[in-house]
Amino acid sequence: MGMKIALAGNPNCGKTTLFNALTGASQHVGNWPGVTVEKKEGKLRGHGDVIIQDLPGVYSLSPYTLEEVVTRDYLVTEQPDAILNIIDASNLERNLYLTTQLMELGLPVVIALNMMDVVRRQGGSIQSSALSQALGVPVVEISALKGENCVEAALEAVRAAKSRQAAKPVTFGEDIEHALEQIGTQVSGHCQPSHNRWYAVKLFERDARTELPLGQMAKDTIEAYIKTVEDAQDDDAESIITNARYECAAKLAHAAGREGKVHKLTGSDKIDQIVTNRWLGFPIFVGVMFLVYYLSISTVGTMMTDWVNDVLFGEIIPPAVEGWLASAATPEWLNGLVLDGIVAGVGSVLGFLPQMMVLFLCLAFLEDCGYMARIAFLMDRIFRRFGLSGKSFIPMLIGTGCGVPGIMASRTIENQRDRRMTVITTTFIPCSAKLPVIALIAGALFGGAWWVGPSAYFVGVAAIICSGIILKKTRLFVGDPAPFVMELPAYHWPSLKGVLRHMWERAVAFIKKAGTVIFLAVTLIWFLQTFNFRLEMVEQNESILASIGNVLAPIFAPLGWGDWRAAVAAISGLIAKENVVGTLGVLFGFAEVAEDGVEIWGTMQQVFTPVAAYSFLVFNLLCAPCFAAIGAVRRELGGKWTLIAVGYQCLLAYMVSLCIYQFGALLTGAASFGVGTVVAIIILVVFLYLLFRPQPKPESKLRRAAVKA
C-alpha cells in the first residue's frame, strides 16, 4: 500500500524546493511567501510507493487566505501517514509556533531543519539533537537548495509513518491543560481518538470552523471550563492558546541553544533602504521593469531574433523545404500549406523565442532574488488609493510570465472583492505570449524603437490603476481594501542552475505550444485563407477567411485597422496570444518576402500606419486574454464573473484603442477632425468623469447611469 508524506511549514521556508529535490519534479519556486497555492503530489525518487505531498505554506492552522484553507483541510481531513515539517532555522520561534499545532494532529511528525547555513552565516547555532529531544520527534538538518540530506529526511518520515507513532503534543500551563483534559472527555466518542487533543484545543479556542455534534449540555460544560481559564488569566481563550504556544516555541528554541540575538543591519536591510526608499523606490521599480523589457525586446533578444527570422526562417529553412518539396514533386496545395502556412506561421512565432528567453531569464531572476515582496510593499501605497492592497501586485508580476499562474496567485488575497478585481485586471499586464506581438509591432512599424516594449508594460500598469479607480466606484467593488500584512523574505542571490532551469522550462513549454496549438491554428488559418466556400483554391481576398474577416473588419475600422487580416489576427489571439503573430505571418506571407531581409515586414506597413499599429498593439494587450487564461478566471471566480471580466476587458481595450487611434491620427495629420474624433472626445470625457467623480453614495441614479456608460 502506498504511503503519503505531507510537506508542511511556513510560507517561503523551502517546501517546494525540497519537494522538487525529493521527487525530481520542477514545480515553480520563488523567493516570496505564497508561491505555492495548490497542493501537488509526486513520487519519492527511488521509492515508488511513497507519495510526497507539497502544500501551500501556512503560518498557523487557523487559515487566513484561500490557499491556507487547502493546507488545513488536507492535514485535518485527508490525514497523510506522516508530516514532514520544514522549519526555517533562521526564524526558529515562529516556525516552531506552527510545529506546536502540527503535533496536535495525531500524526507522526518529522522535522527537517532547513537554512542552517543562514544561521551559521549570522554567527548562530542550533543543536538539532537537543531540539529533537525537547520535541520528542526526529530532527534532520537539511539544505533543500543544495539537496543535502533531503532523502534522509524523507526516509526518516517514512520510518515514522511505519511506526504509526503519533507526535506527542506540547503541553501548556497547568490550568489550560486541566481545561483541555475536561473538554477532551466531552469530545471523546465524537471524533477519532487520535484527534481528541486537536478538537479539544480548537473548541477551547472557540474556532468557528470546528464543529462536532455535541449536545447542549456538553457545550455548556465546555464553555464553563473555558470561562474559568479566561477569568483566571484575564484574556480571551484564543489569545491564551496563542501566547502559550509562543511560550512553548521560545522554550524549545532556548533548549535548542538558540539565544535571542542582537539584530544588526543585515545585507537585506541595506538593500531595502535603497529599493524601498521614499524617493528612489518607485523610480527603481520603473527602471527595473524598463530594463527587463528593453533587454528582451530591443537588445540581445532582438539580435538573435533577427537572425532566426532573417537567416534561419529566411535563408535556410524555406529554400531547403522548398527544394525538398520540389524533389518530392508534391502537389501545389501541399507546398502552400507547408511553406505559406506552417513555415510562415509557426516560424514567425518561433522566431521570437530568443527574445522570450531573455524575458524568462529576467523574470526568473526577479522572482528568485526577493525583490517581488518589496514591490508589493511599495505598490501598496499607490494601490491603496484606489482600493487594492499591495498584495494584488504579486499576481500582476507573475502575470508578466503567464496570466494563468498570475490569476491563480490571487488566492493569497484574503478579501473577496480585492481578489475579483485583481483577477479581472491581472491580464492587462503583457504576458510573455504577448511579447512576440509587441516585438513584431516594434520591429515592423517602429523600426525597433526602444520605447515600444517598455511602453506596452506601462500601458498595462496604467490600465490596472485606472480600472481600479473606476471599478472601485461601482456597486460591485465598493469597500475598503484588505489590510496589507506581508512577510519580506531575505534577499538571496539566485542560483544560476535554478534560474536557467526556470528559463529552459518556460522555453520548452513555449516550443511545445508552437508545435501543437499554434501549429493547428495556423494550419486552419492557412486553409481558410486559401480556399473559398466551394473548396476551390482562390486568391486570399476571395477566401473563406476574407469573407469572415470582412464582416468583422468594420468593427475595428474606428481603431485604425479595419483591414480584415488584422481583425482575424486579433480574434485568433484568443487561442493563444502568440497566434496573432502566427496569423499575421500566414496572411502577410512573411515566408515569401523573408528572403529580402530588409523588407521582411514590409507588406504590413502598407496596411498599418504607426498610429494604427500602436492601437492594434494596445487592443491586443488589453482585450480578453487567451482561452487558457479565461478558463483560469472561470475556475477562480465562476461563470458570471468571467463574463463580467471578459466584457470589461474587451470594452476597455476597444475604447482605449479608439482614443489612441483617433487622437493619434489627428495629431500626426493622418486624419482630419471627424465623427471618430467626436466619439473619442466623448469617450475621454466619460472616462475622466468615471476616474475623478467622487465616491458615489449607495443607490444613486447617477451612478447606475455612469456604470452603464
Binding site: Y59, E93, F377, R384, G390, P483, P489
Partner: protein, 70 residues
Amino acid sequence: MPLTFAKPGHTGVIQRILGKDEARRHLESLGFVVGAAVSVVAERGGNLILQIRDSRVALDRATASRILIS
C-alpha cells in the same frame, strides 16, 4: 502608543492588539503577540517594515495603528 507613532529604529514591546478578527489572528500567527518585541526598520508614507522575532514583516498604516506598544 500605536506602532504608527514609533520612529524607525525604535524597539518596543507589544502591549495590546486592538480588534478581534481574522486579521488579528493572522498577525498573531506572524508573531505579533502581547509581550513580543518589535522594532521599526523603515517607514514609507505610514506603511511600516518591522522586525518581529527573526523576520521582516510589512504592514499598512491602518493595521499598524491597531498594534499598541510601550
